[in-house]
Symmetry: C2
Subunit: 219 residues, 2 copies
């Protein structure tokens, strides 16, 4: 007699605000809303079939995620990234993920960690023959997992706040360039480094990975 009407397994219904947030994030990071484009609240609220008030809450969040930039009088537009900004974003990303790698190495029980990471790599492997979007998703999921496994909620939250900017970086560079960074082998190296428990090595591996990744994007 369970679950007759409502979905039970974590599939909680999302508020309109969250739906709008997802929809807009996708629209922006997919390029459907091209960079520089002015966003008009009345237009968007009509498109998404929600009220302006609800929409504005979502917009504030996107603004703080760095997907939107504010012009005079509160005019919002889709943020435009140049090469320097992409490098900057990846510098911060590298700092966060290298902290994650170091932290994981210092964990008492790394068995479950490496298991989860192996699974994430396997998922990338499985997606390797899929669409570009799928490959990117599985890659980001790997790195998100890296942060999540540390158990440091603040770290995870900071990374997720950056995720939108990361997606924009990839989109800006072009998906074909972004996909250069999805190599399964390189990610296996990361897992292996963490597996050894050598924090310095793990940190170095991540930093190099991010350096290469940034270079691939702006090249």
């Amino acid at each position: 007699m369970a679950g007759l009407t409502a979905p039970l397994l974590g599939l909680e219904k999302k508020s309109l605000r969250e739906q709008a947030l997802s929809a807009l994030r996708t629209a922006i990071t997919s390029g459907e809303l091209e960079p520089g484009r002015h966003l008009v609240e009345t237009e968007l609220s009509e498109m998404l079939q929600i009220s302006r008030g609800t929409l504005r809450e979502a917009l504030r969040q996107l603004e703080q995620e760095g997907l939107l930039s504010a012009g005079p009088r509160g005019r919002l537009s889709v943020r435009h990234l140049d090469e320097k900004e992409i490098r900057d974003i990846y510098s911060v990303r590298a700092a966060l993920e290298s902290l994650a790698a170091r932290t994981l190495c210092e964990l008492p029980d790394r068995q479950q960690v490496t298991d989860s990471l192996h699974k994430a790599v396997d998922a990338m492997d499985a997606a390797a023959s899929g669409t570009l979007e799928e490959r990117i998703e599985s890659d980001l999921e790997f790195h998100r997992t890296l942060c999540r496994l540390t158990g440091n909620e603040t770290l995870l939250h900071s990374w997720e706040s950056l995720e939108g900017s990361i997606r924009m970086s990839i989109m800006f560079a072009g998906l074909e360039k972004g996909v250069r960074n999805m190599s399964v082998d390189r990610h296996k190296d990361i897992v292996a480094a963490i597996d050894t428990g050598d924090a310095a090595l793990a940190r170095k591996t991540i930093l190099e990975h991010m350096d290469t990744a940034a270079a691939n994007l702006v090249a």
Copy 2:
């Protein structure tokens, strides 16, 4: 004939949303709104004399800054930090600021940078005899400056997103503990390390500073 009615020098009138944001941030990080306290939108909007819609936009932002935590059915309450979370916050902070230090060392022209940092330290010195709040403000200003001078907007933005959590950490630990980290000398060390241009040394100095800072807070 200038500035008769309106302030001109960058003192642009802030929107009600921004005013509410500042007021709430201050109220929370000062402990006026004690941790764990449930926030009721209608109450707050009446206190602040603004409409709920406007207030909600500010709340969303505070939520993302980590000052508020969401309960069931959108109930918001002032976030509560335990010792582990404080350590976690400072880990992330350390990662960001060590990136800042490294970045500054690699800058071609560091003259202006060290000048600005010296000024910030001087400000701390001047505040040393002031109230606890003033000392904390000048300390945070120093570290914010550190991030700003890198020219990496993303880094600055990430740090500022964390600032609220940092303030809460200090408040949680108690201002008297927080003030232990305001030593002018220790900050001079940081500036000196950056001055040498030795990225590894600068990074190490910051990491140690943050380690000590976190230890002082949870001790």
